[in-house]
Symmetry: C2
Subunit: 679 residues, 2 copies
Amino acid sequence: MTGLSAIPTPGSTPDLDHLCINTLRFLSVDMVERAKSGHPGLPLGAAPMAYVLWTRYLRHHPREPSWPDRDRFVLSAGHGSALLYALLHVTGYDLPLEELQRFRQWGSRTPGHPEVGHTPGVEVTTGPLGQGFAMGVGLAIAERFLAARFNRPDAVVVDHRTYGIVSDGDLMEGISSEAASLAGRIALGKLVYLYDDNHVSLEGGTNLAFTEDAVARFRAYGWNVLRVEDGNDLAAIDAALASAVGQSERPSLISVRTHLGYGSPVQDTREAHGEPLGAAGTEATKTKLGWPLAPTFLVPEPARTAFAAAIPRGDEWVRAWASRRAALRAADPKLAAEFDAALAGSLPSGWDADLPMFAAKDGPVATRDASSKVLNVLAGRIPTLMGGSADLNPSTKTYLTGAGDFGLDGGNGRNLHFGVREHAMTSIVNGLAMHGGIVPFSATFFCFADYARPGLRIGALMRAKALHIYTHDSIGLGEDGPTHQPVEHLWSLRVMPGMTVIRPGDANETVGAYRVALTRSGPVALVLTRQKLPTLDLPAERLQRGVERGGYVLVESHRAPPDVTLIATGSELALATRAAALLAGEGVAARVVSMPSTTIFDEQTEEYRAATLPPATPKLAVEAGATAGWWKYVGSSGDVIGLDRFGASAPGDVVLANLGFTVEHVVERARRLARRTAR
Amino acid sequence: MTGLSAIPTPGSTPDLDHLCINTLRFLSVDMVERAKSGHPGLPLGAAPMAYVLWTRYLRHHPREPSWPDRDRFVLSAGHGSALLYALLHVTGYDLPLEELQRFRQWGSRTPGHPEVGHTPGVEVTTGPLGQGFAMGVGLAIAERFLAARFNRPDAVVVDHRTYGIVSDGDLMEGISSEAASLAGRIALGKLVYLYDDNHVSLEGGTNLAFTEDAVARFRAYGWNVLRVEDGNDLAAIDAALASAVGQSERPSLISVRTHLGYGSPVQDTREAHGEPLGAAGTEATKTKLGWPLAPTFLVPEPARTAFAAAIPRGDEWVRAWASRRAALRAADPKLAAEFDAALAGSLPSGWDADLPMFAAKDGPVATRDASSKVLNVLAGRIPTLMGGSADLNPSTKTYLTGAGDFGLDGGNGRNLHFGVREHAMTSIVNGLAMHGGIVPFSATFFCFADYARPGLRIGALMRAKALHIYTHDSIGLGEDGPTHQPVEHLWSLRVMPGMTVIRPGDANETVGAYRVALTRSGPVALVLTRQKLPTLDLPAERLQRGVERGGYVLVESHRAPPDVTLIATGSELALATRAAALLAGEGVAARVVSMPSTTIFDEQTEEYRAATLPPATPKLAVEAGATAGWWKYVGSSGDVIGLDRFGASAPGDVVLANLGFTVEHVVERARRLARRTAR
């Protein structure tokens, strides 16, 4: 009972333990009954392990849910949210009983699945299976990185664990395999997952589709795997947790055999998973487990008292931590200040002081290369900027030179090697962001953002501050062909709420894109070329600052009003400027609007937008991607040069030319548009 | 040497084997050199295993690449395409040397990654890692299902294996874990993968991120795992293949230790992966492996002769198969006809004879329930309609009643249980489609189409005929909240080239949607509600047939031209019809256009489109999803009621009402639009 010796337990007798566990169970059941919607099965089966974890291991403080050195808890099986809300309520978080009674109702703090920002104590948003598993890996990486950076022998300011409850559904999702293999590789010894092994999933028994030996599988990943044969055996759960916590070499998976809907008439059946038990079922379950039928939402006084021990315990931990932080301040004020700033999420002053300016005379630069330069400059100024790619650093150009590697040979550097695992990478980066203290980035080819999409969405929903660097952004990448050439990706990401997409048009806009990305809330996708682009021969400052408005007039027409306005992004921006020059030669007055980010442009005032894209001027958008979203900007009288088909394998310039991305084609379509409207 | 006894080997001496293998190696190297782009590393290391497989095991016929009972070969590591093209060329497929010399050039049959339809002998499109792995699982499922359905003891017309070469990158991708776990569960004994274990990935050594024990991991999935310590040891490769082929209880993974870029100066380094060796590197490699420096693209006569044995062997196999098919025709003409029709991809006559008509008086029906009815009717008429859901059958309503389960208790029924594995599900369904003979479907919640996106894209690129049934299509699903509520998904799929998205507005449109889906080429996403919708009180036939045009006038305004046109899809269609009725009461003439599929509507003539959505009429689109793509249809003077934010957890009707999806709101916005334009 190492756990008990480490932390005072609230339950001194088995009866009290039992009472507390049933409190969690029936708060959950009553929540689901009241809402007439939800998942009672997981709470009934997993309450004992949650109880042992929360009362004997988890270091947290209900009154200070954002205490930086708290242990993190992730309910990866987010459909069991009622159990989490019950835990938060009884231990004293700001989640009154009335909120439990408004489970799954409009405006409540108890949404159907746990959502960051709605409920104090919820660390990450979960529900889509596997996301929590991978985000937990990110939380654990953040802890180890920050500990290595900020701890001093006499001032250990970062020292916590990441715990989670994961389900068979989590383990079936590929993202968990990716994250688990990586966690094994980098030996995340302070990551401990309880696996609610209940043998039932939504369709029926897990034997329908899931008969693998999960224990052997996780051992193959290099995990410390423990097994508890009876999910109600508190001593066994406690011993397993003690053993997991007692080592720090490997991540731990504690497989706990539980029973879905334990105690209910539908125990061990799929009916227990996602529907209320109903009045009769609830009565039968309460009777079976010795719980009073009334009142509902009962928290017996002894249980309330026992759970309430979380607060004085939390006080003590937070006090002790505050004194360690004070020690750090005394020993190394500069480091302490850096620590405070990192935790506050502020960028160090002067973070953008060294950002480069690019000049046309220095020749063409791929925006991935400009990005590499900027990223490395920023890494020099922002000590907690860290990230990596899905096995593509040499191509995405995202290695931070001299910043060391993370998890290799015991190093805790800032370059992460995610392997060919875009999905886990993205959700791990979400975890880094949600931990606090880190400015994280991911990187891969833009086409493979598809693999990461559920992670991108959860990140957007959480407003996780993460930078996703996507290179090889169009058919312009060339020979690798349509499997690697993004077409629909720009619009498919632009339509995601909360996601900012920026596709800079040259090296200077790339600098501007980073400036925006680092100061904006929520995730940002930077979309960059593989191929070289001319650095536009215009004031660099104008390009860099223009990005801040999302869209701006880059080249004014030689007379006002223009006959036509060209709108372009990324590699098509140079095309548009060259076309405008040729059009001017023919006497057609063309304005060029650079639109690196429709997301940001849409946030500008109507006045600004109308001044940039005057309603009366015919407009032509040019982008090597799907056309669908551009009609909003060009209007009924406008035109779009885009790509509503897959690309092809050939040298990039050949593909671009054959699919209509030539200056001649832009001139021709612009001319036609100007004339049509003039008529 | 079981393989040798089974199939005559072309190489009688080690020297000839060596010559043949080097032929494959240097054709690949020369292709990459000529293209100045590509991946020489894999062909150099994996040529021996490919050689043994192709010459001693793979049953195929270069002159009849679509012989239905051929073994399937999947190069999951699609970046090694040069090796596949070399194999296809030397064994006699219609891929002349000139095509190898045009590797990665516009219009060639040798694109950067293998693409179905461009090159005879390419079974599936690969490149994005993990896709081939999962599609191979689909190919093997198809084989087993068709064998169970069509073979007779005296007429075995389906009996082939699925082979593949997979890489470390494939094994890192989560989709492979999902597919492998499922393949183990359903014991796909005729699936054999060679794992090119070369210890190097793009960033460097695989030890950067991939140190798991892959052998133990695949054993945990229930696979038969074999190991070859030297990738140049043909006897060991042969013995492993013989052992894999000699059993049929479990899928096999043969882990072969190879050397990336074998024989080259950059052997075993990441530089060998994805760049040409260069003139000096090529010369050094040829010298080291005893190959003449000139001419390039050399196929020595003895090697050509040896490889050419594939054709007479193939003739023999195809002849033997033809006689088995004749035996089936003699023994069971009806079954034989069904077999022929399935292979031809034709639907049985009368396939749509029993499709239901729904009536308004029968009350509201969720489109997922209408779908369930239709799907089961179709299953009764189409014996090779098969599929399943990612552990959501009870919610997606996609179980085929009475059609049996696949892979459970030795059964070969038509219901697949994919587990919580949306990504593998989708790519497996692609494999089913690409095998031929099957009409496959997948199913999950629409939100989780995100997990499947790379599979959807590969399917669209291959024009794989698969049906993806997505229920729980909007915020209308209610309590599960924003993690489960699609918002951006409609437009993010509509912008994917080759993907047809259909969101029917009531039960009868759902019938129409299936009618279209089954007769259309390429993948179709059916987007369906969880909540009940009124069955519109209009002629059922009109709704069912209307879907075929993508968009059509559902309700004409009481006078022409209309003051306003309402465009709606899915659950918003009933809202629009009710709004139109209310507007009529106010004297505003509103037309209602149902637009179940913008994909199909866009294919109609300009005339039809202009008649349906007259340019001069103000238009209001109503859809509970992102607005971005609707501006193309409503134009500059139009308006969109949509959702550019995440949803919320509450009962569905509350969420819909609070976010603007009420008849009052539609009336108000339509009225405003009609007046604004009238002014």
